[in-house]
């Protein structure tokens, strides 16, 4: 019988990031600055058992920190982070979108002072509504496509 679900293979030590928004696993990888010299598996547009699609990222021998989880939440809020040691989940938490983001995003407004080679870091604040929306502290422009606005 054909298998409907792409199963995620277990790892002994490392991090499993589950419930990444579909198609965004490679952006998550980029945001975390993880290079491909690590052992990892990436499932893209995997069928979720609850219906819908999701991406999953498994990285061996890396334990994601809370700060890294915040970075990843910029791209994919509400992803679930599982830290695995000796094959057992020792810690599980959700990626929480940071309220203030300094120096990671670039403003999409070319006239914003943060894009003028001035000695200031970019700064964005999470909007008050539910839409996972960041607003530039300097020019108040909304950031539309967060994944594209993250500095490499």
């Amino acid at each position: 019988m054909p298998e409907k679900y792409m199963k995620a293979q277990r790892i002994e030590h490392g991090t499993v990031i589950d419930h990444i928004l579909p198609g965004l696993a490679l952006d998550v990888l980029r945001v975390l600055g993880l290079s491909t010299d690590r052992c990892m598996s990436i499932l893209i547009n995997s069928h979720s058992k609850k219906g819908g699609k999701k991406d999953i990222l498994k990285i061996e021998d890396v334990e994601l920190s809370g700060e890294e989880a915040s970075r990843l939440a910029l791209v994919s809020p509400h992803a679930t982070i599982n830290i695995i040691v000796n094959g057992i989940v020792v810690k599980k938490f959700n990626a929480e979108a940071p309220r203030v983001v300094k120096g990671i995003l670039t403003c999409s407004n070319p006239n914003c002072i943060s894009n003028q080679n001035e000695p200031i870091a970019s700064e964005f604040r999470l909007g008050p509504d539910e839409g996972h929306r960041y607003v530039c502290t300097y020019c108040e422009r909304d950031i539309i496509d967060l994944a594209k606005r993250i500095r490499s």
Copy 2:
């Protein structure tokens, strides 16, 4: 008992590219122009049963053509391409590095005529030795890092 190997999950219809040089699966993806709206799984630095490491790429509902296999061979020569239909391998072939490559690579020599906005396509020929080396037809410069020289 911990599993040493990351197993590649079966797919019902699509292409499995095996024996990709370790760490180069994302370059293969880029060369093939495959976007992340497809269902796929990517294993990076997976332990090979024969020893050593390799990458594996599984793409659902895509049957790789011979021309696409040539493009991928630019990045990872000798990768194995398996075409799967109804869960069965119906075709298996190796990615053969093309002898001549037109318009896909850019020459690393900034003074090369192919980089001067002239109406000519870049052209490279596979070197006569075993080293998977491409030489510019115009300025005879060797291409060192093929993955980086592929136009996006």
